[in-house]
Symmetry: D2
Subunit: 338 residues, 4 copies
């Protein structure tokens, strides 16, 4: 950590801060510059150290040197993690595809979607049974009924089941039916929920919060890893910016960034990441080209009549065509769709 | 709702969408413009209608006309709501002040803070017992021990107690000790938690999510109001933007905006909203001038040794001076500090 | 245009606004809803109409229906424009590549870069002679000397020359040497400069401002088209967001969006769009997969000693490898690199 | 400057970078930490140094310690600068008010506005003669005719005249009529224009670009100061964020921040900063409370019929009432309106 003193800091303040660094168990290296003094604090990472030092007398700012996360870090574990659930695989050259409707609405809707995405090459079925909705007056999901339909679809197709979990109250119930527990963007910093899924024997799909920095995203993953669950996938689903022609702004540079910083697989969600059906195919293919380890795509038999997110869902034939384009790109680049 | 068709939409598509609007129970008014056709859908508000129509054939976009929230709306309840808890009041010309440490750390720390903020004119004591921390390795709060200390401080000073609640699991426990339940920015869309505090006889301080739109913010309040709890205060605590010289960007225009749209009191948090001790006084005074119904300010006996947020906490004398400035401004404008 | 009245608007206000719409030469269609009245204003597009109506009495908001640009619009010209300059082509299935150093620094530097990018498959050479620099103390470019070097490099390699123009004062001079005039992001709304390049017989590469909306971007292009210059290319180079792990956030969804709205070719700049050498190859390939009509990439013989932007420049072998990957992806998708 | 090496950096890379730092004329202080090595580069500020070092082998990042601007810095000039033009004063406890219409539209419009704002206590008259408009089809201003009307209004009222300058071509012309040259947000990084106004004997009102960081803003001021013009005022007029209920997000924390970093006066523009007439008074008063050195406010005799920005303009009586509120707040805080 580098403690940057104000240009006007007194020697007394510099001495005070040097002493404080030492009391935190760190080695203090005082560097007198031409305009100001900085103190390099050397030692093991201390989470609360930065905030503490930043309020000291004569301190201008404190700059951390070391990433605040550990277990998620590539430095700790250089080899990429591949998450495997049934036939679904993500990571280390394999790009796995989760697809299906935003919400589970009926047996017929789900089964037809499951068959269609399986036929097109997806290896996991997505579908919401508990739906976090911005408005209390919107459809809130079929709940356990929906989970049962998902399990039935898995029974028939062999697809792994991915579904969102909204509350610690539901962990046991959802884990009974699902293979992959999805933490939604709005819950990325719901720490109790992160701890709860960290203690279950299920893979986790952690979505990035709409305004989360990468450090916050990786620290959220760290909450899960820290409880002992190593099957964590990171999902970039778009961030909130000033752009209003898309629902969110989808930054594909998250793929190379995360590949450099973490061993965890990186999944891209072009459906939420754009909010428009017509953009989904191009962004799915671009994600594969950028090196994504997986995709999660909304597919619906009849988007116009979907109870949620119809405007960003693909029809079956659109999904099939998208998968075909993804496959040729993956193969051209020496990777494969899983 | 206005359904805007593409310029290339066919008559068949226009007829199809007109029919769909009618099937949703709305009256359809087709307007043929010089370049394109729009369909005005008239009738009661329907939450899921917009999404559904947006995916129709030949549809360019759907523009809602009516605010998606009801109970929070000023149109439904034109008179401002004043929240009153013990001697704390916020709303309708009174600006109430909640102050105290970020985290409850010890009896001595809390008691001295409680006495100091009381002496300076605050009517509520803030203090975190359950702390949501970005890192799993940071101090997570004193939990029930902290709640007991808060209750003891109330006993002595008469200050109302405000503390954060992080999980549905803790509602009963926290409600036992606290007067005001705070929902943190990271939980603004934790809908289960919103419903839970909507069913408790405690006032709620709902913080705006760092990237929440105003509609999302008011819909989160709507979740609480919809369960029957009318004592909701809205807290602007800053949004995430590209600015990096402040921790968040604090948009005080939220005050006039919310005053126009909702009857609920608007509280400003200049501590999180800036992230720098030296900015807090100016922004607190500016908030009062902008018409805020309350302030929540971090105050610590020894910021340099605080376990969290020391860099944005005021010392006692700084808080006293800030309160003095707020008071003269409030009085100059014909309002009063509560 | 839809004029949405307040729920509290009086009949007098509604009549007043209806009359105002008619005075603007538009047909007014008054729609009485269950909660409020809206007035649909029908007729030719009027630029200043929206602002004018928005300040009327009892008006809640005004929603435009029609895109504010005309000549850039796909509705006016459905066929994609292909820009061709010497052997460089962009648009309609061809992805042209402009590459070279950020700044022209010396004959040796530029010549070696020109030869290397040509060998790797680029058809245009980029290089800055007039450099807009954030600080007045930074290197400001070689000016005319640099332009001469660019022309010499074209002479030898046949590459088209792309260079930035910063001021109306320089139009004649730069046009004498360059094939493509680049308008930088900071000048996207320098309207005098847009008009000036609109009157020169040179293609224009218009970069998106770091916080420009798509309407603003297309209106900037409209300024150029409106002067009679049809050879305009739109360049997405990243937007400013809260993300701090990249220099800018590069939204590739701009490609499908712009392809839907305009006939102009869309170029992607993965160098500025990421700000990190290691991200450039993945994002270049992703841009091709997303359907970009061109790429502009910083390439330098010795990035470590570059006078500007070394941290985001590719070395020759990195550029060659990137081009190889772009080519296989373009071909797999039935397009070609130009 | 702190050069942070990768954890995987080799000794050879560390030695290489140490040598590079020395070649730049800086002293290199190598600090070996528990996880990685950092090199503190000590010496005079070098503008291009950071970029250069950032691309070195084994370098993770480079963190600057010193502000990149000099003449604008409070460290160089600790006393606040007060800009005085005729009776207008801004800075050092005086909050000066510039008010008037967005565009000069006619003699009658301008004269009535000039008289009204003078009567209410403004000391400068704003009015646009050259208008930068997003669309080429919008009203572009009365040009020299407008400048003459401004000069005539000054003649009668004694108000200082503030008007925007869009191009280096117009510097001489505008300087002939105006007292204060305004650089608009879209031209904040039009460096040629900054240099041009730096060479004229007129005060400059520099508006912050909608996505400019504070360093970029102060470096833009530095371009002007560096040419010898010391009468520079910084104007915060709102930034572009995800918020869509205001035209821009107005961050009043810019006032304490800039007061800490620079000696230049800070002006707030609540008109553009909100984009809604009804928000302007509250934000004007809040700006005064936050310590602003000046305000610039749009006032129009008939906002509904304004040729531009009517939706954010105040009527005369609204402006008068706003000034009255500003005055009581300024006086309550021991400052005065100029």
């Amino acid at each position: 950590m580098i403690v940057v003193m104000e240009t006007t800091a007194t020697q007394e303040q510099i001495d005070h801060m040097t002493e404080r660094v030492r009391k935190l168990g760190l080695k203090a290296n005082v560097i007198v510059g031409t305009e100001r003094t900085v103190i390099a604090a050397i030692g093991e990472k201390r989470e609360d150290t930065k905030d503490s030092l930043a309020s000291g007398p004569g301190v201008s700012s404190v700059m951390p040197i070391i990433a605040p996360y550990k277990m998620a870090s590539r430095e700790v574990r250089p080899e990429p993690t591949q998450v495997q659930v049934r036939e679904f695989r993500a990571g280390n050259g394999i790009c796995g595809v989760m697809a299906g409707p935003c919400s589970v609405e009926s047996e017929e809707q789900l089964m037809s979607a499951a068959r269609a995405v399986k036929a097109a090459g997806a290896t996991a079925l997505r579908g919401g049974a508990f739906k976090p909705r911005t408005s209390p007056y919107s459809f809130q999901g079929m709940k356990e009924e929906g989970l049962k339909l998902l399990a039935a679809a898995r029974e028939e197709t062999g697809l792994a089941v991915v579904t969102e979990i909204m509350s610690t109250d539901d962990v046991e119930l959802v884990a009974k039916y699902a293979d992959v527990l999805q933490i939604g963007a709005r819950n990325m910093q719901n720490y109790r929920l992160l701890e709860a899924v960290g203690n279950v024997d299920r893979a986790v799909l952690l979505k990035r919060g709409a305004s989360a920095t990468m450090d916050e995203f990786l620290l959220a993953a760290e909450y899960i890893l820290n409880e002992g669950n190593e099957n964590v996938m990171l999902c970039e689903r778009g961030i909130r910016t000033f752009e209003d022609h898309t629902r969110f702004t989808l930054p594909l540079a998250s793929v190379p960034y995360l590949h450099r910083k973490t061993h965890l697989p990186v999944i891209i969600d072009p459906s939420h990441g754009t909010g428009h059906t017509y953009m989904v195919p191009d962004m799915a293919v671009a994600a594969v080209a950028a090196g994504a380890d997986g995709l999660i795509i909304e597919v619906h038999p009849d988007p116009e009549n979907a109870l949620s997110d119809g405007y960003q869902s693909l029809e079956f034939n659109q999904f099939q065509a998208t998968m075909d384009r993804c496959r040729v790109v993956a193969e051209a680049l020496g990777r494969s769709m899983g």
